[in-house]
Amino acid sequence: MKKILDIKNLTIDFNTYAGRIQAVRNISFSLYEGEILAIVGESGCGKTVTSKSIMRLLPEATAQVNNHSEIIFDGQNVLKLKGKELKKIRGDEIAMIFQDPMSALNPTMKVGHQVAESLLIHTKITKKQAFKEAVQMLKLVGLPMAEKRAHEYPNQYSGGMRQRAMIAIALACKPKILIADEPTTALDVTIQAQIMKLIKTLQADLNTAIILVTHDLGIVAGMADRIQVMYAGQIIERGVREELFYDPQHPYTWALLRSVPKVSQKSKSQLYSITGTPPDLLYPPKGCAFAERCEYCMPICRKDPPVETIISKTQSVNCWLQHKDAPKLNKPSGLKGVIHGQSL
């Protein structure tokens, strides 16, 4: 498979009143043509910051992308692009769907025009044609009565319809990469499944690669080809879907899997939850970031950061438990069942 996006040593800091927050700490990963890559982690782990940085949408006043960071798309470093070149990529080659469809649409512009806008920018067509195509696009994403609805304003739409419109906007120019940042978090559970199914179908039709950012492992189980787990601004484990669900290696991944409710679970048993809170990224710990909350923490974990250990061609993990001197453990029970429990 062909690599279409290559991220190397991405480091992003935020300058705030309190000081410098290290939101993303030296991460590297690649995206392949037509695949769905999931980035999973709890809020504040840097997953949204990472996805926004690919589109260069971080606030320039406070966010600082380190100089040695590289985001290579189509042979060029996105981080170094200026003006027209950047405009060409945004919306045409890489598109994005945001978390909250309520606030992500312009309230004073008809939805049809909002979809048509990216067509007008990136293709040479007339306004009329663009609007027609926008209506087609709205039909494609399953908006009922698309012809009429295209003339309406976002406030006349329900949450699910707005997210469909967002998807239509994002996919209007048939981008090579779609970044979906928590696309269903703000929606009702029943709508969530519909939207995810829609994204998956369109992805197969258009052969778009997707970066799916989410905290919901249930969604990931049904969709992702590969999964990356992020914690405190770092990627701590990565692998294909089956590896991550059937043979996870990092205690944090274990904890995440155990905290997903399962159909098979006995009604009286308590749902597992991870104790504590993620570290303050104003002062990142010098050892493993998860050490504070890890049930298997060892003295070494607090002293030095773990290095990446290759498990298979596709899986690797950053954990001291992989060290030859570390004790061999039995994984906790309750890891399995997710992949069947909520697959779409």
Binding site: K52, M55, L57, A61, G83, K87, K88, I89, R90, G91, D92, A95, M96, F98, D100, S103, A104, L105, N106, P107, T108, M109, Q114, E117, S118, I121, H122, Y153, N155, Q156, M166, I169, A170
Partner: protein
Amino acid sequence: MSKYMLKRLFSMFLTLFVVITIVFFLIRMVPGDPLASMARNLPEQVKANFYAEYGLDKPLITQYFIYMKHLLHGDFGESLVYLGQPIKEIILRAIPPSMVINIHALLWGVTTGIGLGILAAYKRGKWPDHLVMFIAILGVSIPSFVLATALQYLFSVQLNWLPTIGWTSEPGMKQFKYSIMPTIALSFGIIAVYSRYMRASVLDVLNQDYILTAKAKGVSGFSLAYKHVLRNSFIPAITILGPQIAGIIVGSFVIESIFGIPGFGQVYVSAITNRDFTQILGQTVIINALYIFSLFVVDIVYGLVDPRIRVFNK
């Protein structure tokens, strides 16, 4: 017309009615008799006739009903100071000069203010922002009578470029010269208010998610600014425009007095000093009516430009 509009219209008239009533009684309770100064030397009988003619001998409540009846017919009564002069005529005479000055000031002030506000928001934290905000704060920090006096001192006394005070009702170069200083004095405050307001509004819109959506589509430069940022940030500015448009007719008490412009404001101030009850009351009613009506218009305009508010379908 929708139910909402009717309701709105009804409450508008109700408010107006309550306000007129309050003002009527407040004014009539002010100590100091309007006829006192001129009737002082008159014989008792003539004095009594005077009072009877103006209805001042009747109980206050009767006076109130008489006044309201006349008001419904568009009759504001006669001046108590300039005998025989209908209030309506005095007011109609005073409106044009106020309008000339205020339209100038509003056009100049609003466009400059909006422009500076947008500039400041886009250059946030850089020197143009600091400069605009300095001007804006200065604009609300210097009393207008001080500014007006300083302008007179500079342009009339020191440089001798413009006439200190005065007015001519004939449009032309002379009128324009008379209007320059009052316009500057008035627009300074307007610029201050609008630049601050627009800056805050634009900054607010720039932080919205839909701006990220637009950027993610590849929208940039002028289209981003016009279609996405400005259109949304103008909407809140409409709120403060309403009362200001009412102000076009009402004029400015201070500025008109200082520059000797025979406008609505100056007439009002002199009515207060002369204790001309009917004049004060008439002008207050007009000010209130304009103010309340402008709020109503703002509501409607808001409903027209902002699709989130559906005034007409409710």
